[in-house]
C-alpha cells in the first residue's frame, strides 16, 4: 500500500473513531459490573445482549461495507449499495409478506426468505437494465424504483393490517438489540465466506474497473464475474437485513470514505470498506445506546446511521472522486421528437379532464360499482371533490417541480422524491406540528416550504454546480432524503397523536383532505405554475451547461434562485397533500419527454397534464380498488408510477 498523506491522516481518524466505539462499548459493559456470584440477570444481559450487540454491530457494518464495495466495483457505480439497488428493501418486503401470508415459512427460515427477496430484487433489476449494458445511472434509477416500490408495498401491507403504532416503531429501521449470539453467528458465517470469495475475485475485479472492451480483451468473462460478485453482495446484504432489518448508508458510505481516505486500488478498498463500515456502525450504535440510556432500549440504530451518515456524507461529498466511473449523466434527448406537439398536447387535455370526471362520478358502494348522479352525487361530492382537486393540483405541482429540477441540474434522475427534498417538507411539517398546538394550513405550508428550501439549497451548494456534479448531486440527494426521513422517524418514536399525523403524511393519505387543503393546493399550483412560463428560456438553456448559458447572457445566479424558490414552493404544497413518496415528479417529465416533447414549454405543459391525470387516477384507484378499505395515495402512486417508468426505460433501450 502506498503511504499517501491523506491515507495516513484518515487512518488516524478511523483509529480514533474505533477507539471511541471501544470506549462506549466498555462503558456499557462496566454499567453491568460487578457481577454477583449467584444467579445474576446482569451476567445474562452482558453475555447475551451487550456483547452480542457489539459483535452484530461490527459484523453487520463490515458485511454492509463489503457488500457496498463489491457492488460499486462490479457495477462501476459509486452510488451502488444494498439500499440504492433495492436489495435491502426487497429482502424486507419478502419478510413482511412472509410474516403476513406464510407465517410458518417466516418462523423457520427467515434468512432464506430475506435472501429470496434480495435476489428477486436484483434479478428484476438486472433484467430491466441488462439491455442497456448495466449502465450505472439506469441501474441506480431502476434500483431506486424497485426499492421505493418494495418499501411502499411493505408499508401498505403493514398499514392494512392494523397495529399501527407497534409496527411503526419497528417498521423499516434496523434495530440491533440482541438476545443471543445466533444473529452474530449467522452474519459472521456469511461474512467470512463472502470475504474469502471476494479475495479470490480480487484480480479479475480490478480488471472490471477498466472499460468493457479492455476487460474482454484481457480474457475476463465479464458476465460470470459480475454475477458472482453480485450474488455475494446480495447474500451479505440479505443476511444483515434478515437479522437486524434495514441499515442504510453503511454500504454507500464505507467505500466512499475509503476512497476519500486515499484507498486507490481495488484491494485497498475491499479491505478498508468492511473495516470502515464496522467502525461506523459500532460507533453509531454506541452513541445510540448512550443517548437511549441503556443497551436494551428500542431506538432503531438503522434510523440513526442515516442521521449520522447523512450529514457526514454531505460534508464529504465535494471530495468524492467520481472520475473514472463516468456516470452517464447527460439528459437523453427524446427518442422521437414529435413534429407537431400542439395537437398532441390538446389531446392530453381531454384525457386529464376525463380522469377528473371519472374520479368525481364513478365509485363503489355496498352494491358494487355505480355512477353517481342527482342527490347521491350531491351527497358524495363534498367527500370526492376536495381530494380529487387536491390530487390534481399536487400531481401538476410535482411534475412542474420535477421538470425544473431535471432541467436545472441537467440530471434526468432529479425530482423532488429522488433528491430527498420532499422528505425535507416532512421535517418542516414535523417542526410545525411539535411546536404549534393547533397549526393552521398556512403554517403547515410555510413549515414544509422552509424545510424543502433548506434541503434543496444545501444540496445544490454542496454538490457543486459543475456539470460533473451529477452523480454527486444524486448521492447528496440520497443522503439528504435519508437524513430527513431519519429525523421524521426519530420524531415519530414519541408515538402520540402527532406521530400518527406524520405517519398519515408519509403514507400520503388523502382521506382527510378537505376544502382547506384543496384550496391551498389549487391556489399554490395556479400561482406558481403561472410563473413558470416566465422561466421557460432558462429551462431551455440551462441543460446546455453554465458556460453556454452565460454566453447567451443568462443571469445565472438570479435565474437559479428563482427556479429554486419555485421548485421549493411546488414541492412543499404537493408534499403536504400526497406525502414524500409519490414518484410523480420523476415520472411525469420523463413521460412527457418519452412521448416526444422536447422544448421546455411543451414538455412542461405535457408533464403537468400527465402529472395531474396520473395523480387523479391514482387517487381514484386508492378509493375503489380495495373498497371499502382505502389505500394511501402517496404509497399507491409510487406503486403505479414506478413500474411504468421502469417499463418505459426498458422500452427506450
Amino acid at each position: 500500500m502506498t503511504a499517501v498523506p491523506a491515507f495516513t491522516r484518515s487512518r488516524t481518524v478511523w483509529i480514533l473513531a474505533a477507539a471511541t466505539a471501544v470506549a462506549l462499548c466498555g462503558y456499557h459493559v462496566l454499567r453491568l459490573l460487578p457481577l454477583s456470584e449467584s444467579f445474576d440477570l446482569n451476567r445474562v444481559v452482558l453475555l447475551n445482549s451487550v456483547l452480542p450487540r457489539a459483535a452484530v454491530a461490527l459484523l453487520a457494518g463490515a458485511a454492509l461495507g463489503l457488500s457496498g464495495a463489491l457492488l460499486q466495483q462490479v457495477l462501476r457505480n459509486p452510488i451502488a449499495d444494498a439500499s440504492t439497488l433495492g436489495i435491502s428493501a426487497g429482502a424486507q418486503l419478502a419478510m413482511t409478506a412472509a410474516t403476513l401470508f406464510a407465517p410458518t415459512l417466516m418462523a423457520h427460515s427467515r434468512e432464506f426468505v430475506a435472501l429470496a427477496g434480495g435476489l428477486a430484487a436484483v434479478v428484476l433489476l438486472m433484467s430491466l437494465t441488462w439491455r442497456r449494458g448495466l449502465e450505472p445511472v439506469t441501474v441506480v434509477l431502476g434500483g431506486m424504483v424497485i426499492s421505493l416500490i418494495a418499501l411502499a408495498l411493505s408499508a401498505t401491507m403493514i398499514l392494512a393490517n392494523g397495529e399501527y403504532m407497534m409496527s411503526l416503531l419497528i417498521w423499516g429501521s434496523g434495530a440491533l438489540t440482541q438476545q443471543s449470539w445466533s444473529p452474530a453467528q449467522s452474519i459472521a458465517a456469511v461474512l467470512v465466506a463472502s470475504f474469502a470469495a471476494s479475495m479470490l475475485l480480487l484480480r479479475p475485479l480490478q480488471i472490471v474497473g477498466l472499460d468493457d472492451a479492455s476487460a474482454r480483451s484481457l480474457g475476463v468473462s465479464l458476465l460470470w464475474l459480475r454475477l458472482a460478485a453480485l450474488a455475494i453482495a446480495v447474500w451479505l446484504a440479505a443476511a444483515v437485513t434478515a437479522e437486524v432489518g434495514i441499515i442504510g448508508f453503511i454500504g454507500l458510505a464505507a467505500p466512499a470514505f475509503a476512497r476519500i481516505g486515499g484507498a486507490r486500488t481495488q484491494r485497498e478498498i475491499l479491505l478498508a470498506a468492511p473495516l470502515i463500515g464496522a467502525t461506523i456502525l459500532w460507533l453509531t450504535d454506541g452513541v445510540v445506546q448512550l443517548v437511549a440510556g441503556g443497551p436494551a432500549n428500542m431506538v432503531p440504530t438503522g434510523a440513526a446511521t442515516a442521521l449520522l451518515g447523512g450529514p457526514l456524507l454531505l460534508y464529504l461529498l465535494p471530495r468524492v472522486r467520481t472520475a473514472g466511473h463516468s456516470p452517464a449523466a447527460a439528459n437523453p434527448p427524446p427518442a422521437l421528437r414529435i413534429a407537431r406537439p400542439v395537437p398532441i398536447l390538446l389531446m392530453l387535455l381531454p384525457v386529464a379532464a376525463g380522469l377528473v370526471l371519472l374520479a368525481l362520478f364513478v365509485g363503489r358502494g355496498p352494491e358494487g360499482w355505480d355512477i353517481a348522479t342527482g342527490s347521491l352525487l350531491e351527497d358524495l361530492l363534498p367527500f370526492r371533490a376536495p381530494r380529487t382537486i387536491a390530487a390534481f393540483a399536487a400531481g401538476g405541482m410535482l411534475a412542474g417541480a420535477g421538470m425544473i429540477l431535471q432541467r436545472m441540474t441537467g440530471n434526468p434522475l432529479a425530482s423532488p422524491e429522488v433528491l430527498g427534498i420532499s422528505a425535507g417538507a416532512g421535517v418542516g411539517l414535523a417542526v410545525v406540528l411539535f411546536t404549534q398546538s393547533a397549526p393552521s394550513m398556512g403554517m403547515r405550508l410555510a413549515g414544509a416550504a422552509v424545510g424543502v428550501l433548506i434541503v434543496l439549497t444545501a444540496l445544490l451548494t454542496i454538490s457543486g454546480r459543475t456539470e460533473q456534479g451529477s452523480a454527486r448531486l444524486l448521492l447528496g440527494g440520497f443522503a439528504a432524503g435519508a437524513f430527513c426521513n431519519a429525523i421524521v422517524n426519530a420524531v415519530m418514536v414519541t408515538g402520540d397523536m402527532r406521530a400518527f399525523q406524520l405517519l398519515t403524511w408519509i403514507s400520503g393519505s388523502t382521506n382527510e383532505t378537505g376544502w382547506a387543503e384543496a384550496v391551498m393546493a389549487f391556489t399554490t399550483a395556479l400561482v406558481l405554475l403561472a410563473l413558470l412560463p416566465l422561466m421557460m428560456r432558462w429551462l431551455d438553456i440551462l441543460p446546455l451547461g453554465s458556460a453556454p448559458a452565460q454566453a447567451v447572457g443568462l443571469p445565472l445566479q438570479k435565474s437559479r434562485i428563482a427556479l429554486v424558490l419555485t421548485a421549493s414552493g411546488l414541492t412543499a404544497a404537493a408534499s403536504l397533500i400526497v406525502g414524500p413518496l409519490s414518484f410523480v415528479g420523476l415520472v411525469a417529465p420523463h413521460m412527457a419527454r418519452l412521448i416526444g416533447f422536447g422544448r421546455a414549454h411543451q414538455q412542461l405543459a405535457a408533464a403537468i397534464l400527465i402529472g395531474s391525470g396520473l395523480m387523479v387516477a391514482a387517487d381514484w384507484l386508492c378509493r375503489t380498488l380495495a373498497f371499502p378499505y382505502q389505500l394511501p395515495l402517496g404509497l399507491f402512486a409510487s406503486l403505479i408510477g414506478g413500474p411504468y417508468l421502469v417499463w418505459l426505460l426498458r422500452r427506450r433501450a
Binding site: 445482549s49 418462523a107 398499514l159 407497534m166 428500542m298 363503489r364 351527497d379
Partner: protein
Amino acid sequence: MRSYITENARAWSRRTLLVAALGMPFIRMARADPHARIAVVDWALLETLLAIGAAPVAATELVQFRKIAVEPPVPPQVADLGLRGSPNYEMLLLSRPDLIVSSPWFAWAEGSLSRIAPVASYSIYEPGRPPFAPAEQVTNLLGERLGRPREAQDYVAATYREIERARQQLAAWTRRPVFLINLGDARHFRVFGPDSMFGDVLQRIGFENAWPRPTSYGAAAPIPLEALAQVPEATIVIISSTPPDAERTLADSPIWNAIPAVRAGRVVMLDPINPFGALPSARRFARLLTNALLAAGSEPA
C-alpha cells in the same frame, strides 16, 4: 362528575327534515327506537353496541375486529367502513346512518363524520384513568340513548358477575403480581399498566399489577425483555396476537429463559383480546385469564 358525552348539534340535514315532514305516521315508532341506523367508528363502542343488542349498520375494520376482538360476534350484514385510521366516508354515507358513535380518538375525523350524520362522542380511554368505570358508564349512557337501558344494566351486571366469578376461582393465585404483556417482536413487548382495561380488570380480580408505573393510554411500548426480571416473583401473562417468528425466537432466547417467571414456568398465553376495548373485552379477558391459569396448574408455586 366528568361528562362522558359531547354531542354534535348539527343534526338537521335536509334528509332529516324531509323524513320529519313525510314521516308523521312513523313518529311514535321513531321515538321508541330513536336511532335505528347507527354507525360506529371506535372499536370499544362497537363492542358496547353489540353487547346491548343495538347492532350498528356500519363499523370500521371488521376483518381485524373479528380476528383481534373476536367477541361479541359481528352480524354479517354490518357494513365494513375500512381502516380505523382512514374510515371510508363514502361507504359511511351510503350506509345512511342517523347517528355516528365515535370517541375522542377520532377527533380528527369529526369534521367529516358530522357532515354525514350527528356524531355522539363517548370517552372511555384517557391517559392515567383506569377505563373500567368509564366503560360501564358509557354502556349505560348508550343504553339510555338508544332506548335499551335494561339491556345495558343487564350487561353491566353480567360483567360484574363474571369478574366476581374470576375473583373467587383465582383467589389462590392472587398472591403473585402479574405482568400483562403483548409481544411486538421477539425482542420487545408492550406492557399494560393499571390504567389499561386489562390492568383494571386484573386489579378487580384481586391481582397486583407487576408494572405499577403509569403508562400512556394504558400500554407502554416498547420495553426490553430484561424489565420482566425486575419483579422476580411475578407471573407473566402474554396476550396475543404474537408475531409468528417471535414465539420461536423467544423460546431460544437466553434472556427470556433467564427471567425468573419463565424459569419457574409461570407464563401463560391468552388468545387475542382487543387491548382498547370496553366491557366485552373486560369479560373476555377475565374469562380467558381464569381458564389459562386454571389450566396451567392446580396451585401456583
